[in-house]
């Protein structure tokens, strides 16, 4: 008895340790089999802290850390858009966030995507400080804050001061098309599921010209996997542009700086000379 206890005391940490090594590998393999194998294994047993009304607490300032805003598909490094900016504007290489890497464009849509890419310097809505749309706002590489209440969850983005309102009451129809869409949310255990429609056809998915129509339907799943990480998985549907639904996903990271806050980025004035400079009075400075 005495011996076996001692044995266990010696062996248990090893058993737990080995299991700890093996299990993540297995989960990792499963995730890879699913698609791209980022750190988005099926949510482990992490249980998020609760809000006063008993829901998983996803409050905080979050940010994606990847190169998806340049191109959501896997891509090598590439030339930038502005010669004067040299290496500072060169496209950083990235593994992409699309499950399987390929986006199932319909033939005409693929042609339009290529045209968008060629004309990205003049067509990308981001350059004009237009609202980023969904899901682009979620991985634009800038911070955003989730403010969780009982009947509504707000997502407030640094870029252009964009706002998403997630209605947690009974779902309602979009009253009009919009850039950031019309979102209804619900809880499935640990996961916040957000279903969004009512988009216009103006926003892009990235700087590479990936796009959608006003038939876009986005279903997002947010699950806390640790105190500082959310697993973010998205299903994209748009019958006018894609031959079938497709998925993307990534981890989202909590901004941990003491006093982190979403600061003001009213970017309209930064885009005005670009947009209206050609209409300046010639003698005017």
């Amino acid at each position: 008895m005495h011996t076996s206890k001692r044995f266990l005391g010696f062996a248990l940490p090893w058993i737990v340790g080995i299991a700890g090594l093996v299990l993540p590998i297995q989960i990792g393999t499963r995730a890879q089999a699913h698609g791209r194998g980022q750190a988005r294994a099926a949510a482990p047993s992490y249980r998020a802290p609760r809000t006063a009304d008993g829901k998983p607490d996803l409050n905080g300032i979050w940010q994606a850390v990847n190169e998806a805003n340049w191109d959501i598909q896997p891509h090598a490094a590439g030339f930038g858009r502005v010669v004067a900016l040299g290496a500072a504007d060169a496209t950083p290489p990235g593994l992409g966030i699309v499950d399987g890497g390929e986006i199932p464009y319909l033939p005409a849509a693929l042609a339009k995507k290529r045209e968008n890419f060629e004309k990205r310097l003049s067509l990308d809505p981001e350059i004009k400080c237009y609202l980023p749309g969904v899901p682009r706002a979620m991985y634009q590489g800038r911070p955003y804050q989730i403010i969780q209440s009982t009947n509504v969850i707000m997502m407030v983005f640094e870029f252009a001061g964009a706002v998403r309102t997630i209605n947690m009451d009974k779902p309602t129809e979009a009253p009009a098309d919009s850039w950031m869409g019309w979102s209804s949310g619900r809880w499935e255990g640990e996961t916040l599921v957000v279903d969004s429609t009512g988009f216009n056809d103006q926003s892009w998915f990235d700087r590479a010209g990936n796009f959608h129509s006003d038939a876009l339907h986005v279903v997002e799943r947010f699950t806390a996997t640790s105190a500082d990480h959310l697993n973010y998985e998205v299903t994209i549907e748009d019958k006018n542009v894609f031959s079938r639904p497709w998925k993307l996903g990534m981890p989202l990271y909590r901004r941990k700086e003491r006093n982190a806050q979403v600061m003001e980025f009213k970017c309209v004035e930064f885009a005005e000379e670009l947009m209206y400079g050609h209409l300046r009075k010639q003698s005017a400075k």
């Binding site: 006063a52 403010i147 209440s149 509504v152 706002v163 600061m263 004035e269 209206y276 209409l279």
Partner: protein, 335 residues
């Protein structure tokens, strides 16, 4: 409708008539309990408007703080007539917008019936205090710099902030019904933050309640930097770090301090007051009361800049005018 208005008036008057620092008490007409969030805070959440005909400053010749209901109705009618004048055919104002259409004039929105003769209640004159010599110089410098830029339609940077979808008066802070329409707000809160979303330009303010310090002094924002705390059942929000770009009374600056107080006084009303302090600009601090009234949602996405065709059209029109004038001058020169 009439009954509702009477009730609202009854609720504002006693609360507003008290000293500004004292906590508002709901009138005893009907027992009312403060709605609270699951974590126990007074619940300020919902859709609110502050659309009103009460002017910022008391009109000349008016000496009292509150009108009688009859006087208030007459004052509102005068303001309504003024709005309607902008729709007089053949006037310049009428070319831009017909204020009687599209909900642009306040008479068509969810108006607050307030007996105040002015939003400003301190100083007791109901008028803004005098500005300092330094502030006068600042305003003069700004006007001179502005004149150097040329005409309003020479370049986009010369046009008004609202035309450019950069900043609408009243979006706050402070919350003011300075625009004629869409003065709608949504408040969402939890234990750690209060968020105020303004419908106009989807401007949004996130107010932390955790006592953290303000942004470093050298960092300024259009909307400043807000910090909140609960004093009893009143949300007190202090805002500093204002940018000089903020057009508030032409005098916003990093030395301006704004204190706002939100107290829910009924299901339909929030008592909202603010105090502006800046010894470099104003001879004394001043305060105003701008009640918030519950209104219907949802707020729409006001993608103002994204749909801003008018800036390009106005500038292009101005260039065309100049081109035609130049051609005309050349033709006359040839003769």
């Amino acid at each position: 409708m009439t009954i509702a208005i009477v009730v609202v008036v009854a609720m504002i008057l006693p609360a507003a008539a008290q000293a500004p620092s004292s906590n508002a008490k709901a009138p005893a007409a009907k027992r009312w309990t403060m709605p609270r969030t699951p974590d126990g805070q007074p619940d300020l959440q919902g859709y609110w408007t502050n659309s009103s005909y009460v002017p910022m400053e008391r009109a000349n010749g008016v000496t009292k703080e509150f009108y009688t209901p009859e006087e208030a109705a007459a004052a509102a009618q005068r303001a309504r007539d003024q709005d309607a004048e902008q729709a007089t055919p053949g006037t310049t104002a009428d070319v831009h917008y017909d204020h009687t259409q599209f909900g642009l004039d306040r008479s068509q929105s969810d108006l607050i019936q307030d007996l105040r003769t002015s939003l400003i209640y301190d100083p007791p004159t109901g008028r803004l205090p005098p500005i300092t010599a330094e502030a006068q110089k600042r305003q003069a410098d700004r006007a001179a710099a502005r004149a150097m830029l040329g005409g309003t339609n020479d370049a986009v940077q010369n046009m008004s902030f609202s035309s450019r979808c950069l900043f609408m008066g009243g979006a706050g802070p402070p919350l003011l019904s300075a625009t004629n329409y869409n003065t709608n707000y949504r408040i969402v809160q939890n234990a750690r933050y209060v968020m105020i979303l303004t419908e106009m330009i989807h401007d949004v303010r996130i107010i932390p309640l955790d006592g953290r310090p303000h942004l470093p002094k050298g960092v300024q924002q259009w909307f400043g930097d807000s910090r909140g705390r609960w004093e009893g059942d009143t949300l007190v929000v202090e805002t500093t770090n204002f940018s000089e770009k903020n057009p508030f009374r032409g005098l916003a600056s990093p030395s301006m301090r704004l204190t706002e107080r939100f107290t829910r006084v009924s299901d339909e009303m929030i008592k909202y007051t603010f105090t502006v302090e800046d010894e470099t600009a104003w001879a004394q601090p001043w305060s105003a009361a701008v009640p918030l009234k519950q209104t219907q949602g949802p707020l729409f996405e006001h993608a103002c800049h994204e749909g801003n065709y008018s800036v390009a059209n106005i500038l292009a029109g101005a260039r065309l005018d100049e081109q035609r004038a130049a051609e005309e001058a050349a033709r006359k020169g040839r003769k």
